[in-house]
């Protein structure tokens, strides 16, 4: 069944960070998007994924729906998209941030702390990494996973 990732990464408001943000924004379609596309397709655990910047340019936002546990998902992202997350965490905490967060425990902790809970309650009473009931997520396909859905489309 799918879980929602609502990752809101605060962006530092200094000039260097805003410059990097503009570069990411400009290069995303030609550089990051293709990398994400390949990793996401290979994973067969991601239903949907999109990346955006909040209108006030204070948050870098990663929204996904994924199958499996948060622990395995976080590690999948760290291992498979290190360049993207290096930029994201640099935006949040400066150039040294990635070195500090680029390990299984710290990345998991960061992803947990940056997650914003959706409103409402999970219809499957699913728990978040802290054991609390997850927010509401509409499931058009019930608890089916990507690996179940894809063969049905052939």
């Amino acid at each position: 069944m799918a879980h929602a990732l609502n990752l809101f990464v605060p962006i530092r408001q200094d000039a260097d960070s805003q410059k990097l943000l503009a570069e990411i924004e400009a290069d995303f379609a030609t550089r990051d998007q293709a990398l994400i596309e390949k990793a996401a397709r290979d994973s067969q655990i991601l239903h949907f994924l999109r990346v955006l910047i909040s209108p006030d340019r204070k948050y870098f936002v990663v929204l996904t729906e994924y199958d499996g546990s948060h622990e395995e998902y976080a590690e999948f992202f760290r291992v498979n998209l290190p360049d993207l997350f290096k930029q994201i965490f640099t935006l949040a905490n400066g150039p040294e941030a990635w070195d500090q967060v680029n390990n299984e425990r710290a990345f998991y902790a960061a992803s947990k702390s940056l997650q914003i809970r959706s409103l409402g309650n999970s219809v499957y009473d699913e728990k978040d990494p802290s054991g609390q009931t997850e927010g509401y997520l509409f499931h058009a396909y019930g608890p089916r996973t990507v690996k179940q859905i894809l063969p049905l489309l052939k």
Binding site: S43, Q44, E71, F76, V79, R105, Y108, K127, P129
Partner: protein, 458 residues
């Protein structure tokens, strides 16, 4: 780093005890001081070193949960709970139900016979003994220390007996399979293992692991954890009557030309991946061969479609050896399939036939590793959903023995391929194994135990 100092490592980590009886006494600490007194009382009896070298004398090991470490004030001089929570990884969270595939009857709400919760467990005293006299003596001694320390004993059974495992007919498990064959060989004395053994850092905290990041990784917590291991303590109920009924009803579908008893043995072997005497299907797919029963040197490269050993057979999911991982897992597990150290013993009386007697029986298991997520939880996830390798046509299948039919989206179908290109699909209507309880424990070094028991003197 130099050779492992055996005197500082609890015996449970270094090997499986050959004692036929084990007992696990679960306690909750009331105050820091009395909890420490309890540890101090037991410390002289804690066993260290290779259990095979310790003879028939009783073995006593102690494991501590996250809440237990907090209750004992283990981190008071290290920055307290917040600092420790930053240092450990997943050990400081309750067991993860989704990763354990703990749904339906196996859901955490049903654990420990609903008498307490996993988070209530602070200390587990693990006892291995040769006979009932030793069991009584050691239990009396531990219970007396617990009473002096005013510990609350956590008991799951209605009759008050602690969780007690007893060997069944040698190394047999309740479903009739021989246990204790496949143990991961570990090079305890070198950072870079020799002779094909696994690195000690995969199981002992504080040593480098080429396969996993292990936590805690920074002082003072890494020093505290060194020579210890992380352990999942599990009580697993086994539905023997349901399993026997499944064999009787389904064996003729799989092997219609065999006599019923032989067909049931054949199906049981297909579910495990070994005949009940231990013979691997990968080596002897058509019959049990006692001379091959203890073989562990085989792979599945010559059986990519599971004709000899079904793709989802228990041992082929728990450790798929040379079978390819999917591309994502190849990046996550560059060293290959994750391994854990298993220690276990059946509990409850034998049952034959298909009439359940309502008596609790199953397996008490202890699974040791250095990274809960990449080792223990990953294996549990894959047992509950066979989506880790591209060989599975059905990416939502389960291990037929440990599968949880209530896990959303999982299939209870078990496919057994034949050499003629056909396959037989059998559907489980019940879970043969149900989780009765899981506790995440640290099996500390002797030095760490001494530090917790008497922080001022360590």
């Amino acid at each position: 780093m130099g050779p492992l100092i055996r005197d500082n490592v609890q015996s449970l980590l270094l090997g499986a005890s050959l004692h036929p009886i084990t007992r696990h006494l679960l306690f909750q600490v009331k105050t820091k001081e009395t909890g420490r007194q309890f540890l101090s009382d037991l410390l002289p009896s804690v066993s260290s070193g290779d259990p095979a070298a310790l003879g028939t004398a009783p073995l006593l090991n102690i494991s501590l949960s996250w809440n237990g470490l907090l209750a004992l004030g283990a981190f008071d001089a290290m920055g307290g709970e917040a600092a420790a929570a930053d240092a450990f990884y997943l050990f400081n969270q309750p067991p993860l139900a989704e990763s354990l595939r703990a749904f339906g009857a196996s859901a955490p709400a049903n654990w420990w016979n609903k008498r307490f919760e996993s988070t209530d467990i602070h200390i587990i005293v693990h006892v291995s003994v040769s006979d009932e006299d030793d069991l009584r003596d050691v239990t009396t001694r531990v219970s007396a220390a617990a009473q002096r320390a005013e510990l609350r004993e956590l008991v799951t059974s209605a009759n008050g007996e602690p969780i007690t495992g007893r060997a069944v007919d040698g190394f047999r498990l309740h479903f009739g399979y021989r246990d204790g064959i496949s143990h991961a060989p570990v090079d305890w004395d070198h950072d870079v293992p020799t002779g094909g053994a696994l690195p000690r850092g995969d199981f002992v905290l504080g040593y480098p692991s080429p396969n996993y990041s292990t936590y805690p990784d920074k002082p003072p917590f890494s020093d505290f954890a060194r020579d210890g291991s992380l352990m999942a303590f599990m009580v697993l109920y086994q539905d023997v009557a349901g399993f026997n009924r499944f064999l009787r009803e389904n064996a003729p579908k799989l092997a219609p030309t065999l006599p019923q008893a032989d067909a049931e043995e054949y199906l049981a072997a297909k579910m495990m991946g070994r005949w009940r005497d231990g013979t691997p299907l990968a080596i002897s797919p058509e019959r049990a061969d006692g001379t091959e029963a203890l073989r562990d040197d085989f792979g599945y490269a010559d059986d990519p479609h599971g004709i000899k050993c079904p793709l989802a057979a228990h041992i082929r999911v728990a450790n798929a050896r040379d079978q390819p991982l999917n591309s994502v897992n190849q990046r996550l597990f560059p060293g290959g399939y994750p391994r854990i150290l298993r220690r276990g013993m059946p509990y409850g009386p034998l049952l034959t036939g298909e009439q359940d007697d309502g008596v609790d029986r199953g397996l008490v298991g202890m699974f040791l590793c250095a990274n809960l997520n990449k080792q223990f939880y990953t294996i549990m996830r894959w047992l509950g959903r066979t989506d880790f390798s591209p060989v599975f046509p059905d990416q939502v299948g389960q291990d037929p023995l440990l599968g949880n039919g209530s896990f959303p989206g999982a299939s209870s179908d078990f496919s057994i391929a034949s050499a003629d290109g056909t396959s037989t699909t059998l559907t489980r209507v019940t879970d043969f194994v149900r989780i009765r309880g899981v506790a995440l424990q640290l099996l500390p070094s002797l030095a760490a135990l001494r530090k917790v028991a008497a922080p001022g003197q360590a």
